[in-house]
């Protein structure tokens, strides 16, 4: 039994943590939140230089050629710092889609740009409120042209390269669109202003097939599973940071002549939050193992990782405010940035309820 990360992987994680502690303090996320900027271009460039944006991209396409275990740990640190960059959209979604389904030409053309951070990528699935219905998308791909509207698209308004799930004569397909050609990009107001959300309207935009025509929904599902595991690590990183800040605050804040951390109602809830994060971490580890080893169990493991990390982070987001009292409800304190991030990350890949349903379907199929 060796259900842990290796020493080298942990060292990589430590380097990433130190780097982000320096380059991405919470004030950086706040600066993005309080400006019209959609992300920190400077941090984006730096992460590209560190090789993170091409973490799992093969070296021949300009990537670092790491495994998923390494990427998972980077994701955790990105989450811990609340880094205001389109990391999840570009790395776990767009790059992964092209690695999985791109032709050699497409990989050469797109992955090199994504790895270098010259292009921001994303995957566009949703078409309005409700579940991510993969089979029922309306956006149409015909004769090399794409028509329809995708909303909301994570980082869609800043994306240079968009993988779109569309309807075709054969069923559904994934297609790649250049964000600068025939796409009307509009910024939407995000619950978490440190993470951009956009609406994309395609009016005959030129697009090319990614993978097999007719297989779009199945391919999208695979991408979502993989992204769910990586996002779970990001969520856990964010939850751990929220937990640390909360614990620190309760130790320093006095009421009734004692630190509030000595009240059992606080201690026991911190114990519960800790427990929730531990369980989520264990499920995420298993997801990472399944991802790295292309296990048959990736489908169920991704669901468990996704739901559990979402639950842990949402709890952390609620508790950080509650345990700070009134200051937690101010714009000035950072608590709400965690509250906001918890919900945003819990929704962009589909809600926990959707993933619980998916889990049961998969368990039924396996029985």
């Amino acid at each position: 039994m060796n259900f842990d990360f290796s020493e080298e992987q942990k060292l990589l994680q430590k380097t990433a943590r130190d780097f982000l502690a320096d380059q991405a303090p919470l004030s950086l996320a706040r600066a993005v939140m309080e400006s019209d900027n959609k992300y920190s271009e400077e941090l984006w460039k730096e992460t590209a230089e560190m090789g993170w944006l091409g973490a799992t991209i093969p070296e021949e396409y300009g990537g670092a050629g790491f495994g998923y275990l390494e990427l998972a740990l980077l994701a955790q640190e990105v989450g811990r710092s609340l880094a205001p960059i389109p990391f999840s959209s570009s790395v776990y979604l767009a790059s992964e889609a092209i690695i999985a389904f791109g032709s050699d030409d497409q990989k050469k053309k797109y992955l090199t740009r994504l790895a270098a951070g010259d292009a921001i990528g994303t995957v566009a699935i949703a078409e309005g409120p409700g579940e991510l219905g993969l089979e029922s998308v309306e956006t149409r791909f015909e004769a090399g042209k794409l028509t329809g509207k995708k909303t909301p698209v994570p980082d869609g308004d800043i994306a240079d390269l968009i993988v779109v799930l569309a309807k075709t004569a054969a069923g559904t397909a994934l297609v790649i669109v250049d964000g600068d050609a025939g796409v009307d990009k509009k910024s939407l107001e995000s619950i978490d202003p440190t993470r951009a959300m956009g609406q994309l309207t395609f009016d005959g935009a030129p697009a090319e097939l990614l993978g097999a025509d007719g297989e779009g929904a199945a391919q999208a599902e695979k991408i979502l599973d993989r992204a769910a595991v990586l996002m779970a690590f990001e969520q856990i990183g964010t939850a751990e940071r929220a937990f640390d800040i909360t614990k620190e605050y309760t130790l320093g804040r006095y009421a009734f002549g004692r630190p509030i951390a000595s009240f059992q109602a606080i201690k026991h809830r911190l114990a519960d939050l800790y427990t929730s994060i531990v369980l989520a971490t264990s499920n995420a580890y298993y997801g990472a193992w399944a991802l790295e080893n292309s296990s048959d169990e990736l489908g169920t493991a991704a669901c468990a990782a996704r739901v559990n990390a979402t639950e842990a982070l949402e709890l952390a987001g609620e508790e950080i405010i509650q345990m700070h009292g009134g200051v937690g409800f101010t714009w000035e304190y950072d608590c709400h940035m965690f509250y906001r991030r918890s919900k945003l990350t819990g929704l962009v890949l589909g809600s926990a309820a959707e993933w619980r349903e998916k889990l049961i379907q998969r368990l039924e199929a396996a029985a």
Binding site: N2, F3, D4, T250, A261, V278, S282, Y286, W289, E357
Partner: protein, 410 residues
């Protein structure tokens, strides 16, 4: 990252399996483990003792104990592997856990040579069964509030008082008892620890009927019961130190458990039972709930894998290893309650009259005990928040106060 045995672990597993194959029958994976002691009556004790003796003869009893005590100085990971392997066979449930898991190690740490020579071998062989006489009517979570007294008289100590919730006392030859020997000291300082012969005069054992009807635990009354001083474990008034050793071992043995009906069984049940005129498994709230149980079950099991990894590498498991019972016991209770809900009105039946021979009802009736024994949910949260997270300890009304001056409710 992998789930494979190291070559040494694989070799050990093969060795264990070879012996088990030759000496026991494989259990069908769907068949529940053999029943607990309460259901078995007296025959269960005999069978458990025979199996234990067989293991002892072959060197498979208490394998982590040092060789001088009859063990094989096995590592913790070997002990886990042995338990996994033994669990695959139709073997009687062990009734020796309290002695072998908690009290034996306490005697090895704090006992005299004479005590080790006398008690350890028969304990390892299962010839003598042991119980833990800690809790009292007025001292459970607050164990150090115990009131049973021991007073020195010549070479003996004379013990008076009452213990309660003593698991298995009715089958035991020996018990380990914590007593108050100095009521004027602060409470942890006036405690002395003894080995007591459960057959000696002045010991009266009364089984207590538990909520499910069986009598797993007892109350034990001590009336002028004499314990020779040579049965004292550790120094006079220093018994708390030994009690802590026992409790540390309790924590490492509890929570290992698991087993019992699981998510697979819930899915099957939800197919069989109807809701809204359709199989309950088609109901979205049912699906959401089962998914939640699955995720918590897996989270717990992979947390176990992380702990095993640390053990396998010979390092101390991280703090994550402390949450097992705190998550597992309420989970068990909620899953059982949910299964009964699925059965609707028929969920109110038990045993043979109930669906699936009442396994869920039995689990539901047993679960509250899991949430109490070996540290209640609340005490475990205290432990996690104080020892793992480093939060301040409780404000105490009894700090620095002589035991005799501490306020009580009765």
């Amino acid at each position: 990252m992998d789930f494979e045995d190291t070559p040494e672990e694989a070799a050990f597993r093969a060795e264990a399996r070879a012996w088990l194959d030759a000496n026991a029958k494989l259990r069908n994976p769907d068949e529940p483990p053999m029943g607990m002691l309460e259901e078995e009556g007296g025959g269960g004790v005999k069978r458990a003792q025979q199996w234990q003796a067989k293991k002892a003869d072959a060197g498979w009893a208490c394998i982590t104990w040092p060789k001088e005590y009859g063990g094989r100085a096995a590592s913790s990971i070997q002990s886990v592997i042995w338990n996994q392997e033994e669990g695959r066979y139709r073997t009687p449930p062990s009734i020796f856990g309290i002695g072998q898991g908690m009290l034996g190690p306490t005697i090895m740490t704090h006992g005299t040579q004479e005590q080790k020579d006398r008690y350890i071998q028969p304990m390892l062989r299962g010839e003598e069964i042991w119980c833990q006489l800690f809790s009292e009517p007025a001292a459970g979570s607050d164990l150090a509030g115990l009131r049973t007294t021991a007073v020195k008289d010549g070479d003996d100590w004379v013990v008076n008082g009452q213990k309660i919730w003593t698991t298995g006392a009715q089958f035991c030859k020996w018990g380990m008892i914590v007593t108050r020997t100095d009521p004027h000291a602060v409470k942890h300082a006036g405690i002395t620890y003894f080995i007591v012969d459960m057959e000696s005069p002045g010991v009266e054992i009364r089984p207590i009927k538990q909520i499910a009807g069986a009598s797993g635990f007892n109350e034990v009354f001590f009336t002028d019961c004499r314990i020779p001083d040579k049965n004292r474990v550790g120094a006079v008034n220093d018994g708390w130190r030994g009690a802590i050793t026992t409790l540390m071992n309790e924590r490492s043995s509890i929570g290992a458990g698991g087993g019992g009906a699981g998510v697979k069984d819930l899915l099957r049940l939800a197919k069989q039972c109807k809701r809204n005129g359709r199989p309950a498994i088609e109901d979205s709230s049912v699906r959401q709930q089962i998914a939640d149980f699955y995720i918590r079950t897996k989270g717990l099991s992979y947390t176990g894998s992380r702990t095993l990894t640390a053990i396998s590498k010979g390092t101390t498991p991280g703090p994550e290893s402390s949450i097992g019972k705190l998550v597992g016991a309420p989970l068990r209770q909620q899953m059982a309650a949910f299964a009964m809900d699925l059965q609707g009105a028929a969920g109110s039946l038990v045993n043979q009259d109930a669906a699936e021979e009442g396994i869920w009802q039995l689990a539901w009736l047993g679960a509250p005990g899991m949430r109490l024994a070996g540290g209640t949910d609340e005490i475990l949260r205290n432990i996690v928040s104080e020892r793992v997270l480093g939060l301040p300890s409780e404000m105490r009304a009894d700090k620095g106060v002589a035991f005799s001056d501490i306020p009580t409710g009765s």
